[in-house]
Symmetry: C2
Subunit: 348 residues, 2 copies
């Protein structure tokens, strides 16, 4: 910062006040500083979440949306992507743990598929490499679609002549486009379009009134208290793994019914015990219940627990309320395309 020359006889403390303290205070208390800081560590959502391996095309997205709603590729005819990721509930099902075919309980709470495709991995313990991998593995997943094989899924899809046409349009030039890998790519391409910018993004882009004073204060707390240490990026999470319960075992504070060893199940590394992927916080106010086991119902409680066992802090009621208010500013607009229902192919 360049200090401009001051007139003679000006008291030294006034100089200091004018040059350093007042501008800094004004700057720090203003929206610009908040925007600058938040843009560095969080930032606005991108328009989509592209992938070099699976470029987004309109044809893939159109097919993927239909497949997202398709229950006839599940062993009991009741499970589609949209069963556990219902659009009207912000693509999470509101259950502690999702329920797959024949009422089989899933091991963990289901994350929303909105803003999900740019994470380091999918699922709480990172055992899915991408949204495409997640979609592919779900169809044969024992607590999910429960199909006996990928071939059985392809066989069902091939029994609907309209799928032939749709796959051919989405994967031109392929001799046999109706494959499980193309199923995964189509669903993945659809999911890569599911970004939900909200008031926070509008604020970052200069609409100062997009967030309330309390939300702005909460955003400050979210950064000051250290939440962004893990919940960074435009997705406010999804970029790293972290032990759940740095300061105390999580199950002493949550209402967990059993202890989940987290990513240890994947790596068998001792220091991965109780480690989970840091969840994306976009639309978190709409996707209760919370944590990997859905053991906490209220966002206030979740924030308080996070302060306690991740940051070692007893957040005040005001701090909790501020952070919760900010998290509501992460509730975004669902893309129009996701809000319209596709009509599924019929047997000829």
């Amino acid at each position: 910062m360049r200090v401009t020359s001051t007139k003679m006889h000006t008291p030294w403390f006034l100089v200091l006040l004018l040059v350093f303290v007042l501008p800094a205070a004004a700057f720090a208390s203003g929206d610009e500083a908040l925007i600058t800081r938040a843009s560095q560590v969080l930032g606005p959502l991108p328009a989509s979440m592209p992938s070099a391996e699976n470029p987004i095309t309109p044809e893939k997205v159109a097919l993927g949306k239909i497949l997202f709603w398709e229950p006839r590729i599940s062993i009991d005819g009741t499970v589609s992507c949209s069963k556990c990721h219902p659009i009207p509930l912000y693509a999470a099902d509101g259950l502690r743990k999702s329920v797959g075919h024949n009422c089989k309980e899933n091991p963990r709470n289901d994350p929303t598929v909105f803003n999900a495709a740019n994470q380091i991995s999918e699922h709480w313990i990172g055992n899915r490499t991408s949204v495409e991998d997640q979609a592919k593995q779900a169809v044969t997943g024992p607590p999910a679609f429960g199909m006996p094989s990928y071939e059985s899924v392809e066989k069902v899809l091939r029994s609907y002549w309209q799928y032939e046409t749709l796959f051919r349009a989405a994967f031109p030039g392929e001799k046999e486009p109706v494959t499980i890998d193309n199923f995964a790519k189509a669903v993945g391409a659809f999911e890569r379009t599911l970004v939900t910018p909200g008031p926070f993004d509008a604020f970052l882009k200069g609409s100062r009134d997009a967030m309330t004073a309390q939300q702005k204060k909460g955003l400050g707390e979210f950064m000051d208290q250290g939440c962004v240490g893990c919940h960074f990026s435009p997705f406010a999470g999804g970029q790293m793994y972290q032990k759940f319960g740095l300061f105390a075992p999580y199950w002493q504070y949550t209402k967990s019914e059993k202890i989940d060893e987290g990513r240890y199940a994947v790596t068998k590394a001792e220091n991965d015990k109780y480690v989970f992927k840091v969840p994306v916080l976009r639309n978190v106010a709409m996707t209760r219940p919370y944590f990997h086991d859905g053991s906490v119902d209220r966002l206030e409680d979740a924030v308080r627990i996070m302060g306690k066992i991740q940051l070692g802090k007893d957040l005040s009621q005001g701090q909790v309320q501020g952070i919760v208010a900010f998290l509501h500013a992460l509730t975004g607009k669902i893309p129009d395309n996701a809000l319209s229902v596709p009509i599924l192919p019929s047997l000829k």
Copy 2:
């Protein structure tokens, strides 16, 4: 018919031919005759299905659509109206028998809720008086939503502040609008808007090309063979009860796993044994499988069986194909409002 005078010396058989036979043949083979006949016994769909007891208002429809998608009023959080009546599958679930909370099997195949509100009753055995009655009873139905009481449903709805606002708008002037009866009225009002006019309606209204030649032939067969004897009205059904298996026990021709005594369960009258409500055939090509127990997968087979056991006829392959083609002309356009997904209220 007035016979006009003919010139002298015209042979008598030519007079007869000109005056009676040719015009009649041309008339009978033409679209006008078909339209006239079909309009008398079938007819185009109305714009909606109003009810004096439950007038359709935009506010009720808006609320009813949200409630239609709401799973949190079920005992396990998985059942909404849209679970068994998924819009992408023409509001039927494609299962032999629907699956309610905790995977409980329903006693019969679920009919679509499209074009459903103008029937003499709801459900296969007529044990629901109206769509409103059906919606109300579903929430506590043991194989449906499974809630312990109407009060428990009201309690859940009242825990979402947005529902308070929505119910108040839909039922103005009521001191406590969030009630189970108003839930039923709102869902009913939404369902009363779910009419799906299709090619058949366009044809009846004068668009001759709306139906193919085979579909027109099939429509003729549908009337000539006697299908309309039960499947009459613009809904092609839903107006009477009839014994399933007039010429032979139905289970000798379907793939029924057990014998369902039908409406006998409601009335305990001996002559109601194996009697079911004649189903609406609108969108029947999109709502397989068929019959009260979903025991037949293919529309062709269903038509053939109906000919055999309801009409005592072995329909030819051509007749079956024609009737099936006509039934495809009953596949209609889903209303735009039903094709857009509502966002469900969130806890404050």
